[in-house]
């Protein structure tokens, strides 16, 4: 992923934060911090994915760890 693409995605996230800003400020602390932490977590994943592509391939881990249990695999 390129830097402009990352900025585009960050912009998309920021757009929703701005649109929801008033409601977020009026909502309780748990909602506010849960929303901010979900956005933050998403951004961390984007940045990690940009710097080290394929590092967080969770489904590949799941696939490799479950392969011995599967009754058959792709022929």
């Amino acid at each position: 992923m390129s830097v402009p693409m990352l900025l585009l995605l960050l912009g998309g996230g920021l757009l929703y934060v701005l649109l929801d800003w008033k409601q977020l400020q009026q909502s309780n602390r748990i909602t506010r911090w849960l929303c901010y932490s979900l956005y933050g977590f998403a951004m961390i994943i984007w940045v990690v994915e940009m710097r080290v592509p394929g590092k967080l391939a969770v489904f590949v881990w799941i696939q490799r760890s479950l392969e011995p249990l599967s009754p058959f695999l792709r022929s």
């Binding site: 992923m1 693409m5 585009l8 995605l9 998309g12 996230g13 929703y16 929801d20 409601q23 977020l24 909502s27 309780n28 748990i30 909602t31 849960l34 929303c35 901010y36 979900l38 956005y39 977590f41 998403a42 951004m43 994943i45 984007w46 990690v48 994915e49 394929g54 590092k55 967080l56 391939a57 969770v58 489904f59 590949v60 799941i62 696939q63 479950l66 392969e67 249990l69 599967s70 009754p71 058959f72 695999l73 792709r74 022929s75």
Partner: protein
């Protein structure tokens, strides 16, 4: 109180089964079971209906409540653990579907548009109607899925010229094993319909409604796989990543309408967006149930962004979601067989509530 008709519920359930399953699963089923691949759907459906019966019987014990509400009220701590595990599972479905749709659009329609832009555009369209609630979601799905059903039902008429029933033969050449393997692959996708009891109480969702949704969704999938086998052929279908897209590309109505696939895809796309939206809805509802003070509507956008980030980080490429199909049934056995059975056996209302 949100009002959803029985017909909307049926289409919501059938759409949740059908919309993402048709993307690439038929290719893997045909690759595994060849001409007997179609048997996979009816066999898997029997197990799914059994699991649905267990869920509906459990929810029936708690009138006016859906499964999320019943679990948090009856077994507050363990119930929240079960809901968290369920949310994790539906988050994975959300992530996988989003990635599969983004890859499909990129490969089949917009090869020069970056994947991230397609993903962002899908997300920007999903968030507003998921925020509006299940009623809006059901109505949007009703509009598009009903048209999609009609479109799918017209495909056999338009491919009649290429229809070759000889492709079914030899039936059961290697016994029942290929059919069972095909059912193993189809089971997790058909089982996704088990989301319904988590969202609706038995006042709205009856067993009959759930079975109707299952039959409609599976019937349409069965029709498509039969057409894949008889029109496109076993050898060719098993080599395509998107066999149903190739099937529709066979249709050429007249000289001026040689891209009929674009019309079908333009009907299917809003329907699959509704499916992804329903996954996002159940995620936000589940978190709201675990943490009741959290406002559900505000969670939709951040959860969507997290899902979008994960959909690109969790897979290396467009082929990996299809490879996952071979091991995914092991994960789903826990959610679609063990959990319904345990809830049916152990979750009962308190005796005082029962006597009232």
């Amino acid at each position: 109180m949100e009002r959803i008709s029985r017909r909307q519920l049926v289409l919501l359930g059938a759409g949740y089964m059908f919309d993402a399953t048709l993307i690439s699963l038929p290719s893997q089923m045909i690759e595994t079971a060849h001409q007997d691949a179609w048997m996979g759907y009816p066999i898997a459906l029997v197990v799914v209906i059994g699991a649905m019966w267990l869920f509906i019987q459990t929810v029936k014990r708690f009138p006016e409540q859906n499964l999320l509400e019943a679990l948090t009220e009856r077994i507050p701590r363990l119930g929240r653990v079960i809901i968290t595990l369920g949310m994790l599972f539906y988050f994975m479905i959300f992530v996988r579907d989003l990635r599969m749709v983004v890859d499909f659009i990129n490969i089949a329609l917009l090869p020069r548009t970056p994947l991230y832009v397609i993903g962002l555009l899908i997300l920007l369209s999903i968030v507003p109607f998921v925020r509006s609630g299940i009623e809006v979601l059901a109505r949007v799905n009703f509009l598009f899925f009903a048209v999609l059903v009609l479109a799918v039902l017209t495909i056999p008429l338009m491919t009649l010229k290429e229809f070759n029933p000889e492709e079914f033969k030899p039936v059961l050449e290697e016994g029942l094993i290929p059919g069972l393997k095909s059912a193993w692959l189809a089971f997790p996708y058909l089982g996704e319909v088990l989301v319904l009891p988590f969202l609706f109480s038995t006042r709205r969702l009856s067993f009959k409604t759930s079975v109707t949704a299952c039959l409609l969704g599976t019937g349409l999938l069965l029709l498509l796989i039969v057409l894949n086998i008889t029109v496109v052929g076993v050898e060719i279908s098993s080599r395509f990543t998107y066999p149903n897209h190739e099937l529709i590309r066979q249709i050429r109505l007249t000289d001026f309408l040689d891209r009929f696939d674009l019309i079908i895809v333009s009907i299917w796309l809003p329907a699959v967006i509704c499916k992804i939206g329903l996954s996002l809805y159940i995620l936000s509802s589940g978190i709201h149930q675990i943490l009741p003070r959290v406002t559900r509507q505000l969670l939709v956008a951040p959860l969507g962004f997290l899902g979008l980030a994960c959909s690109f980080a969790f897979f290396h490429n467009a082929i990996e979601p299809t490879h996952l199909t071979y091991v995914w049934p092991i994960v789903t056995l826990f959610y679609f067989v063990v959990v319904p059975a345990l809830l049916y056996l152990f979750v009962h209302p308190k005796k005082k509530a029962m006597s009232k």
